[in-house]
Symmetry: C2
Subunit: 186 residues, 2 copies
């Protein structure tokens, strides 16, 4: 792996574990094994390196989600597969957790990939909800964009419940509750 | 306000704004106007002060939620009132946001009031869902604890969506979607 790659991958890990505020340039250098000169040769500083790291994490999340959302089955099956897909629940969402980071939210540049990813996810899910409505799977009065926002919010909030309790059980309960509501929403 | 009070209130503000990792003892001293000796006279250090601050924030959140959950109306009305109550959405939840803080999650002592508060909220909501089921307002096959987890997760995840987009609209959409699902879940 090139030094630039090692810097980006180490920053991605640290952002997921400790957030932006909790990630010092020193910690990035230690984890990547890169020297300070090398870091400033490849990147203008912590914000620049974090932006590259966040963009890559956002791309990976989209690719993983697309693998399920574009997968086999009816629109409803794919929504269910998205909700049931295996997750490293106690680590939280590497993209969503950044919204609790004051320095990410204060920077339009760092916030942009976070916003775009969650927005993309809501739009893809809204498309599937709309298709499921056309197939008669959901009541016509349901608003597809609202249901999509509820789906993404339940997943993101599920991480909060799991991390608070130190167990994935609360995440799973929230997802099962949403699936039960979606099943009755014909 | 006593120095001890000023220290706790300043720590509460900083924890909400910047999290535990992002709050330095120096920032607490600056905001409270207290001296270092005074801080160490009242508290053993940042974890001890943070614990007092988190406990108080947790108590306030419970009191605010109880005001709606124990309020007038049917069990269903009170669930709806909880979901619709006014919130400072872009600031996020002062309790839930702490779950994204690695040093809070790593400490059983600091995590306890966060866990207890979200657990209490889920139990109170589960009780109302159970009552609403008995009144025939929800389908009998719905699991009250799962629906309660979905309700709390949607609120917590709604903050994530709002902060990502820089607007409360995504929070509101997620809540409206959940209310639509709850309305059809008879």
């Amino acid at each position: 792996m090139s030094t630039s790659e090692r810097l980006i991958e180490s920053t991605r890990e640290l952002l997921w574990e400790r957030g932006y505020v909790g990630t010092s340039p020193k910690a990035i250098l230690e984890r990547s094994g890169a020297g300070q000169g090398s870091m400033y040769h490849h990147f203008r500083g912590k914000p620049d390196l974090a932006l590259a790291a966040i963009r890559r994490t956002a791309e990976e999340l989209r690719a993983t989600a697309a693998g399920v959302l574009d997968g086999p089955g009816s629109p409803y099956d794919r929504i269910e597969a998205y909700l049931r897909r295996e997750r490293d629940v106690l680590r939280g969402c590497p993209v969503g957790r950044l919204t609790m980071d004051p320095d990410v939210i204060a920077s339009d540049e760092l916030r942009a990939p976070v916003d775009e990813t969650l927005d993309w996810l809501r739009e893809r899910l809204a498309g599937l909800v709309e298709e499921a409505k056309e197939e008669g799977r959901f009541a016509p009065e349901l608003d597809a964009e609202e249901i999509a926002a509820t789906i993404v919010a339940t997943v993101q909030g599920g991480y909060v419940l799991a991390r608070a309790s130190g167990s994935p059980a609360a995440f799973d309960a929230g997802i099962r509750g949403l699936l039960a509501l979606l099943r009755t929403a014909r």
